[in-house]
Structure formats: structure tokens, C-alpha cells
């Protein structure tokens, strides 16, 4: 399955409730990047992309692009 970066970005925008989310946005600047968001991203990866993503690796993501790369791994 080829996964488009833009499709994942759109899905992440919904999770972060931020319309203009960008690849280069830093997670440290997103005040919602908490335990619940981590679970929501893991849920998205499993249901929409059939991928298992590690919560620990997600927590270490510095930018939105890092999250997208992790989902695509």
C-alpha cells in the first residue's frame, strides 16, 4: 500500500484539531501533544494504515514529518 504524506497530514490535522498543520511544525509547540494524542495517532495508524506504531517512538518525534515517517515505516 502506498501511503501519501498529504493524506496522513490531513488525518493528523483532524486529530490535532489544527486546519493548517504543516510537515515542519514542531511537536513541542503543539500544546495538545499529550498521552491522548499519542493513543489517537496509534489508533489512526492501526485502523487506517494497518500499522503498529510504538508510543515511545511517537513521543520522541520532534516534527509532524517525523510522525508521518513513523506511520509509513
Amino acid at each position: 500500500m502506498t501511503i501519501s504524506d498529504n493524506k496522513i497530514l490531513k488525518d493528523l490535522s483532524l486529530i490535532f484539531e489544527k486546519k493548517n498543520l504543516k510537515f515542519e511544525d514542531k511537536t513541542s509547540n503543539l500544546d495538545q501533544f499529550d498521552s491522548i494524542i499519542i493513543l489517537q495517532i496509534m489508533n489512526l495508524a492501526k485502523i487506517a494504515y494497518k500499522k503498529n506504531v510504538s508510543g515511545l517512538k511517537l513521543m520522541d518525534c520532534k516534527k509532524i514529518l517525523d510522525i508521518i515517517k513513523l506511520i509509513k515505516e
Binding site: D34, I36, L39, I47, G55
Partner: protein, 347 residues
């Protein structure tokens, strides 16, 4: 391999919750509270008075079901209590319950230390004992006051847990053609994913005065070593990668499955598991009790049954599946057509 018990029937299920409830949206010092409530699906939670214990809830539930089923105390031959919040570290709380219920001295009585998989593990344990020892009537008590283990500054755990007790009455009926199926899965490598790190004054995890102090983790959760510590991502991955597999396995050759009653962890796990199973069992109903009761640990399956179907009969076969602390999973397929489901009572 799927195991079977013939002749074990669930005669009735009763539940008891504390009168006091917490409304999550009123916890005002949380940022993003509405978003969190939407994701976990928990609006209200019954909370036990700090001076009460799990056995108070279970005792009321036990007295209720014994009276409603018109069971004689002398006929009860086994009482198992599943909890991770016992009244004491030792002795077992089941003995206290036996005494308060005035069950006969020859009753087999003991505790099992389990949380969210406790109801289904407990059903397997009591069914197996009743078959092998030829015991006719037994009580499976489950319950927890997990809210008392949670640090009030733990951003997520403090919104999750409700307190409840429940008692299920079990009969071993010779000549019955009812069959209960079960399967289970244990992964002790995840023991730290749901843990209260310190207890008592014995062993290597004994209490010392520094354990009272709260610490802040990487995600700003505040917990002490006396609080329940949850590793949400690991629990999530364990549940979504194993529960659907076990349910598919246990249900593949069983017809007429109408209900799938899952442990109520949070809405996202419930939805995820349901989504993975949707193509396997298309017309199965997945009832929930999260909104009004939260995660009631070992009592969540009976709470879901009693809150959704009070005084009703569940037709067809039902899958019950508990999962969590250990880490552990167990699933049961049982026919609840004759089971008396009682309305939840309050303490």
C-alpha cells in the same frame, strides 16, 4: 486451544455502585478536557467514599443476588473474589465476605489478584473448580475501587476509573447441554504496564517514605509509587493486537453469537476492536457502559450487562472478553438466555 465446560450456567448477575459520582467535565483544572472526554468516552464515574472498600460494594451485591435468586446460604459451596484493591494485603477479602454473608464453614473461599481480565478469568476458575469438585452452586465476586489508587494530578488516569462491585451466581447443572467455551492469553513481560510499584513492608518492593512523593513523567503525568501507573501506549497496542485475534479464534465455529461484551477500557480501544471484528461478525451487538460508569476494572463486563439489559434476557450466545493487567486476556462464549440480569443497585 479452546477449552469447554459442559453444564455450567450463569444463574444471575448483580452489580452495586457507590451513590457518589464524578462528572468529568467539571474537573476544571484540566486543559483540553472536552477533547479528552470525547476520545475516552467517559462522562461520569461512580466513586467510592474514601472510607469504604471494595468488599462493601460486593457485599451489598451478594446479598441482593442471593435474595433475588432465593438461594439458600447452605447451598453455596464456593466463593471466589477477584480484585486488585482488596481490603487488606492479607488476609484475603473473600474470607471477610464469607463471614459477613454467613456462608457455611465448608465453603471454598479465596481471592484472585486481577483487574480488567478478572471477570472472565474468574469465570474460568470457578467453572473449572465447580466441574472438577462437583460443586453445585458458587458465587464469583469481582470489584475494585481503582479511583483510590489514582493520583488526582494524573491527567488521563484520573478521568478513567469508576468504582463498582458485582456478584455472579453460577450453577453446575448435571444433564445440562449448555456449553461454555473459553480461551486465554498471558504476557507477563508487560507486568510494568499497569502497576502499583510499591506495597507493604515486605520484599524488594517494600514501602519507604520517599514513595509517597509524586514525580512528573515525560508526558507531564504526576504519580507516586503508591499510585496506579499506566503505560497507555503499551496497553493500547497489547489490546488492539491481541483481543480481536482471540475473539476471532474463540467464535469461529460457534453459531448464533448475538453479543460481544468487552471490558470497558476506553472508547478508542472499544471502537478499534469493534472495527477489526466488524467483517467477521456482522450483526453482533457491542454494548458499552463507558459513558456513565467509566472503566470499572474487573466489574466492567457485568456492569455493561446490567446497565444495558436490566430485567431482560440476552438471546443467543454472548462473547465476554476481559483484558488488561498482567498483561492478560481471557474470552468466554456463554449462553445467557436463562440468566437473570438485575438492575444496578447503589450503596
Amino acid at each position: 486451544m479452546i477449552k469447554k465446560f459442559k453444564g455450567i450456567e450463569i444463574a444471575g448477575i448483580s452489580c452495586c455502585i457507590p451513590k457518589k459520582k464524578i462528572i468529568n467535565k467539571n474537573i476544571s483544572d484540566y486543559k483540553n478536557i472536552k477533547r479528552i472526554i470525547k476520545v475516552i468516552g467517559i462522562e461520569n464515574r461512580p466513586i467510592a467514599d474514601p472510607n469504604s472498600s471494595t468488599s462493601d460494594l460486593v457485599l451489598k451485591s451478594a446479598n441482593h443476588i442471593i435474595k433475588k435468586l432465593n438461594w439458600k446460604l447452605n447451598d453455596i459451596e464456593v466463593l471466589i473474589f477477584v480484585t486488585q484493591t482488596p481490603d487488606y494485603l492479607t488476609p484475603a477479602t473473600s474470607g471477610i465476605l464469607q463471614d459477613k454473608l454467613k456462608l457455611k464453614k465448608s465453603t471454598l473461599v479465596f481471592d484472585i489478584n486481577l483487574g480488567c481480565s478478572g471477570y472472565t478469568h474468574g469465570l474460568i476458575a470457578i467453572s473449572s473448580l465447580m466441574k472438577n469438585l462437583k460443586l453445585k452452586k458458587g458465587l464469583l465476586a469481582v470489584g475494585d475501587v481503582t479511583s483510590q489508587l489514582v493520583n488526582k494530578n494524573d491527567k488521563v488516569s484520573n478521568l478513567l476509573f469508576g468504582d463498582a462491585g458485582s456478584v455472579t451466581a453460577i450453577k453446575n447443572v448435571s444433564g445440562s447441554n449448555k456449553t461454555m467455551y473459553c480461551d486465554y492469553y498471558s504476557d507477563g513481560s508487560g507486568f510494568e504496564d499497569i502497576i502499583v510499584p510499591v506495597h507493604s513492608l515486605a520484599g524488594k518492593n517494600k514501602f519507604n517514605k520517599n514513595d509517597i512523593n509524586s514525580k512528573i513523567d515525560k508526558k507531564q503525568n504526576i504519580r507516586s509509587n503508591l499510585n496506579i501507573n499506566l503505560n497507555g501506549p503499551n496497553i493500547f497496542n497489547f489490546a488492539i493486537n491481541n483481543v480481536p485475534r482471540i475473539i476471532k479464534k474463540i467464535s469461529q465455529n460457534i453459531k448464533n453469537i448475538k453479543y460481544c461484551i468487552l471490558h470497558q477500557a476506553n472508547q478508542m480501544i472499544q471502537d478499534n476492536i469493534e472495527a477489526q471484528l466488524i467483517n467477521i461478525k456482522k450483526k453482533v451487538i457491542y454494548p458499552s457502559s463507558l459513558k456513565k460508569f467509566g472503566n470499572t476494572s474487573s466489574a466492567s463486563i457485568p456492569i455493561t450487562i446490567c446497565s444495558n439489559y436490566p430485567n431482560k434476557k440476552l438471546s443467543g450466545n454472548s462473547i465476554l472478553c476481559g483484558f488488561g493487567v498482567g498483561l492478560s486476556i481471557s474470552a468466554i462464549v456463554v449462553n445467557l438466555e436463562k440468566t437473570k440480569i438485575f438492575k444496578i443497585i447503589k450503596l
